[in-house]
Amino acid sequence: MSADVVERALALSRADGCVVVAGETGRVDLRWAGNSLTTDGAARDLSVVVISVVDGAVGVRSASSADDLEDLVRASEAAARAGSPAQDAGPLVEGPAAADFGEPAPAVSIDVLDRFARELGASLSGARSDGLRLYGYASHTVSTTWLGSSTGLRLRHSAPTGYVELTAKDDSPGGSSWAGTSTRDWTDVDVPALDAELRRRLSWGRRRVDLPAGRYETLLPPSAVADLMVSTYWHMAGRDAAEGRSPFSRPGGRTRVGERLGPPGLALRGDPHDPELATTPFAVATSSSSMSSVFDNGLPLAATDWVADGQLAALVETRATAHERAVPVTPYVHNLSLDGGGTASTDEMVACTERGLLLTCLWYIREVDPQTLLLTGLTRDGVFLVEEGEVVAAVNNFRFNDSPVDLLGRVTEVGRAERTLPREMSDYFTWVRMPTLRVPDFHMSSVSQAS
């Protein structure tokens, strides 16, 4: 795909308004299990989406080829003509043509993983000789988007997203550990360091104790906090809250914006220009929902505080929902950071723990009660008992039932925020920065015998 496809489609359009989003994604990946490769691949994917607006009604058609572009444009217009005015109808975003709009998508080759694959090979043979088993996945994707509109927008964004996840297992009962990291270019991925961290955590499992279900003081590490915060973020549609059907609703069509959710100083924020977490700096929506509007395509995104100084500061608002309820426009941003100004590392937080649990990550997180955002899920790949400042044993896994919204209000310590990988959401939501949280009473509902 290319900028040219966008221009050609816009030139063909006979609708009142038209937005064209072309995309090209290149991906290479490696996957391994039990110290050996399982799958690999290289993929190049193309897409073009034509959004036509006629009398406020929308027609959306997409294809993976621009070969029949005129048919695509006409089908999109026909769908708009047959439709009725959209709930979110409004003017399309106007704007300038970006200087880099005409640039092509960067090529992606398996070569980007060359050094990583060699280092991984060394880790796999080290694991073989030491009686460990390594499992994992490495993926490098470059996504390029061109967005043009009949109102003059010509925007392009291209960014690489890479990540690696490693799981190590040994023959001790339940012995399993996990580490993961995101990367742009693989130069900062240190396989020997990840390997060493996995082995350090496995060594904590030499002593194992069984603990029952209950409420425990728990250190939730950055990856676990990331999965909980992304789940929370995905429930932060302002419209749902105002309609009374969200954890952020108040009676009478109001929302909980302004209410205290967490300790003073706590900030949950999205920022497309965050140097560490940079993401697409303009809105891209190929369908409308309570979180997005096709009319907002191309809207510049800015740093947004969802929680500021511990208080709920904003919910996700499209231009349409913001206008309807006279609140600021705060579109969805595809990254997330939680920061309470803490400076303690996870190890330092362990060192000042009298008795508690240290988790590695969470898994299979699902909503149980939308009213309170009660979530259930499992601890995974390492639960550790901390006593008098030291990890003293590995513990069985648990099923938790707890609400991340409630939990923010119970936090007693916020550690240093660091870039992390949400274990469960990594393929949908890679760019996050989170602290370790100390929760005095995290609710472990039952024991899981899984490892």
Binding site: S36, S47, V60, S64, R133, S139, R366, L378, S446
Partner: protein, 504 residues
Amino acid sequence: VPALDPAFLALPLREAAATGLTAGAEAGASHVDVRVQRLRGQDLSMRDGRLESLHDGVSAGLAVRVVVDGTWGFASSSVVTVEEAARLARQAADVARTARPLNADPVELADEPVHRDQTWLSAYDIDPFEVEPSQKTALLGEWSRRLLGSPDVSHVDVSLEQVLEQTFYADSAGTATTQQRVRMQPRVLATRVDPSGSFESMRTTAPPVGRGWEYLTGTGWDWDDELDQLPERLAEKARARSVEPGRYDLVLDPTNLWLTIHESVGHATELDRALGYEAAYAGTSFATLDRLGTLRYGSPVMHVTGDRTTPHGLSTVGFDHEGVAAQEWDLVRDGVLVGYQLDRRMARQNAQVLGGGRSNGCAYADSHAHVPLQRMPNVSLQPAAGGPSTQELIAGVERGIYVVGDKSWSIDMQRYNFQFTGQRFYEIRAGRLAGQLKDVAYQASTPEFWGSLDAVGGPSTYLLGGAFNCGKGQPGQIAPVSHGCPVALFRDVSVLNTAQEGGR
């Protein structure tokens, strides 16, 4: 009578395959397969009777998979041309060479008869893509208004996902198959917002199916009946007493049980999980290969089959994505683990333990962009011939809960500890229904739960449930799958109160 979509047949299927197969062999591959996959999708959502979004799209592409020096290589692209097929074959061989040093287990594939030029179409009457969107929004809008007319319904969300999927597959052994199937997932959610600020919702229990537009107009489901009853059922749920946690006998309706089967039997009998291939992602299984033929999975009335042949099943095909013909087999018989879900590599690698050496046809890739993995067939609990009705099962329960519809689900990495909720929970007292309860979740460990299976219903209670979006693998893939089951009675299961779980 449905016919193959001319837009798919217009792609250079055979030409690209021939070129890809030749180029792969020239690049040193001992096995090559070429797949062209095309997905036509239309997603429609309505919010309170107004169209929220309607996205209509086509995605097509070409994939070449090779075995070079005993290592997989895979490459794919959205461009379906002869030239691209040759390029992808060479690229797949390059990927295999990069990955070769990481591979300790040479790839060998189970034998499969050559299926020359086979064509297969799923069973449906009306191609949903031949129906005008305005007709769809008119019907779903009418459903919405009907519900919104009730004082007990504050909001109505309707969604309809429709997929037309075509696959052409050819391999270096000479198999060539062309297939087309259709699936639909309509859902209606009614929400009641109380002036006090609390809210409660209820979703229709109609399953996603491999049927056409006829599914929305009376074939396979009584929509009028379910929609007519929804407001009153929702109001009763909002007023219902919060459950007292403890142990109860559970009568699970097929609309709830299908998902419990999916998670605790379907995923647990995937051989790639049992072998640890998913240990870093989807997870493993307690039902390991060394326990085949001996693991007591559940009570003797438990008989679970795998199949890719059930009419209207979401996993039903003619041939899988490795050219293996669709079949049906036992996974659990008389309560004992007797089978797994296989692809050609695992079938060959574990031939001795499996007592076979042939694949049962579970390879599937969700698009051209992804490599085929072992994915779930339709995994179904068989009813008892002459077995009881739902009423008869309920009559045998002193203190229990009858659970209808699926909602929240979660299960651990080895498929032991699970927690499910539902849409409706009816208290059973002395063999009779005694109104709805709310805040119910049941939690159990798989072998204990299936061991507590006391009775399965008769064939008249059997329903094919299922899901569109079963996730597995990295890069992540989704797969549609159906699960048939009768109503079933489980004794003495742990029930939680979800409000109390949340500390309230």
